[in-house]
């Protein structure tokens, strides 16, 4: 798929001032959280493809997306995370005092990522995608996200683990641009540090065992129970347990899958 066309659609609709940008995401968000609890719905991929149909399909890498498209995709996720933690830190009584230092640090990083990605898009003469309006209740499914710490933590884990998989999934698409690839990798591992810390605060292991999401939406952990790496069934060449093998390798998500996860939180 070609997300840039989607973003172009977003920008055009904003410029026209006839239609709000929410319409561009409607195909994703209207599916709501039900989409998150099932396998990645093909309907979402279909709606995005429909939105971008007829485009020139220009791409300069194996993933089918340009570097600017990938950066705007990453920027969208960073907007989401940044806003999420800003609101969480502002919510009175939500984050216990003992954990505030952790979320303050995470928030600083996400805000820095937003700034850095905007700059990166501009350095390539691209147009940074504008910040969407977010609904972290996902239409009411997580109604207590900013009053119930457990809900907040669950979504924090969901966003961080998704972020890790999202960056990983786009690395190949950045292979032609060494400086951008390196920056993306440097963000990617920071997201993984965040994910581990949030998981630990939740009483989870810092790593992902099989496809167990520990109460976070299962679709975020689809294919994490993978034991085949680079064509090698790792179970056949080591004696560590399958669980440990699955933990040892984080998996990718495609852009489509990530947008399906993020969609319900974008108004």
């Amino acid at each position: 798929m070609n997300l840039n066309k989607l973003y172009n659609t977003v920008n055009e609709t904003i410029n026209d001032k006839n239609v709000s940008r929410r319409s561009a995401f409607k195909g994703i968000s209207k599916l709501g959280l039900g989409a998150l609890t099932a396998a990645v719905p093909l309907a979402i991929a279909g709606s995005i493809n429909k939105a971008v149909a007829g485009g020139s399909g220009i791409s300069n890498n194996a993933s089918g997306s340009t570097v600017v498209e990938i950066l705007n995709f990453a920027l969208t996720l960073e907007y989401l995370e940044s806003r999420f933690y800003q609101q969480g830190l502002l919510a009175s009584g939500l984050i216990p005092g003992g954990d505030r230092a952790v979320f303050t640090q995470i928030s600083l990083h996400e805000s820095a990522h937003v700034i850095g990605l905007i700059s990166a898009v501009q350095s390539l003469n691209g147009t940074p995608v504008p910040q969407p309006t977010f609904d972290f209740t996902a239409g009411g499914v997580y109604a207590d996200v900013f009053t119930n710490y457990n809900t907040f933590l669950t979504l924090a884990q969901a966003f961080e683990d998704t972020g890790v998989r999202a960056y990983k999934g786009q690395a190949g698409g950045l292979i032609s641009n060494d400086p951008i690839l390196t920056v993306a990798l440097q963000i990617h591992s920071v997201e993984a540090r965040h994910a581990a810390e949030v998981r630990r605060i939740r009483g989870q292991k810092g790593w992902i065992t099989g496809n167990n999401g520990g109460g976070a939406p299962p679709v975020i952990y689809s294919r994490e129970d993978n034991y085949i790496q680079g064509g090698v069934d790792v179970r056949t060449i080591t004696t560590v347990s399958p669980d440990a093998i699955s933990e040892a390798f984080d998996e990718t998500l495609t852009m489509t899958e990530v947008l399906a996860i993020a969609g319900p939180f974008i108004v």
């Binding site: 194996a62 003992g98 954990d99 230092a101 952790v102 303050t104 640090q105 995470i106 600083l108 990083h109 996400e110 805000s111 820095a112 990522h113 700034i115 850095g116 890790v164 990983k168 690395a171 190949g172 292979i175 060494d178 400086p179 690839l181 390196t182 920056v183 990798l185 440097q186 963000i187 990617h188 591992s189 920071v190 993984a192 540090r193 965040h194 994910a195 581990a196 810390e197 630990r200 605060i201 292991k205 810092g206 790593w207 790496q229 680079g230 090698v232 790792v234 060449i237 080591t238 004696t239 560590v240 347990s241 440990a244 093998i245 933990e247 040892a248 390798f249 984080d250 998996e251 990718t252």
Partner: protein, 237 residues
């Protein structure tokens, strides 16, 4: 560990050496895959035979993607050897949570090591000889701070070498591993300084929110403290 390494180890490490404890040695061999598969995986010095067949004083990682994969393999060998020794005899006072974490990490690093060995095939570097004489395996502080250093080093190595990889498939594989190393780093850091910013501390993540990166030459210069084998990367930056 092996004869050469024992010479370098102070008495304390000798006594704690996994090879001086038959049960632990057996467990080690089981985890390292030698007894089960007989394909020669495992760190250097697991048996006298290994010393004879794979002993080498220096090794170059090679060029191109193979060089980068061997670079990763070298680092995973180092990490696996470290955690195998940690888990063979935990420092006194280790909590059940710490034992679980360090055992998990050991298994992850073994999986990484064995994967690279298999993936690189005949172009793989031999097993490296390690030198952990600077580590006090009886000390929580020494073990966890060494673990922190290794994990941060691993993260910086993958981040700094990603751009050297030509194959998108290999790049993705490196990505699958580096995020797990980062999870390790954050977890170890949280053990050392719980619920503080240190899990992604300002010593490793800069003001732009970017994790540390290092070139192979920089990483190897740090890693050499823990290696008997001289590892060079003459065809990598």
């Amino acid at each position: 560990m092996n004869t050469r390494e024992k010479v370098n180890l102070p008495q304390k490490e000798k006594e704690n050496s996994i090879l001086n404890h038959p049960i632990n040695r057996k467990r080690f061999l089981m985890f390292s895959g030698i007894t089960a598969l007989g394909i020669g995986l495992g760190i250097q010095g697991c048996s006298e035979d290994d010393i004879v067949t794979t002993s080498t004083n220096s090794v170059d990682l090679g060029a191109g993607d193979v060089g980068v994969l061997n670079y990763a393999y070298a680092l995973e060998q180092l990490e696996a050897a470290f955690y195998i020794q940690v888990a063979a005899s935990f420092y006194s006072g280790a909590t059940s949570a710490e034992i679980q974490i360090l055992t998990d990490i050991r298994d992850h690093e073994i999986a990484h090591r064995d994967f690279f060995k298999a993936a690189i095939g005949s172009a793989a570097i031999p097993s490296l000889e390690v030198n952990f004489s600077s580590i006090d395996f009886t000390s929580r502080n020494s073990v966890l701070n060494t673990a922190k250093a290794f994990e941060d080093l691993g993260v910086s190595a993958y981040n700094g070498a990603g751009y050297l990889i030509d194959s998108a498939a290999y790049l993705e594989l490196a990505g699958k591993i580096v995020s797990v190393e980062a999870r390790h780093a954050a977890t170890i850091r949280d053990l050392l300084n719980p619920r503080s910013p240190d899990f992604a501390g300002n010593d490793v993540v800069d003001a732009a929110g970017l994790d540390v990166k290092r070139l192979p030459s920089e990483v190897l210069n740090i890693a050499k403290t823990y290696l008997v084998t001289s590892v060079t990367a003459n065809n990598l930056p």
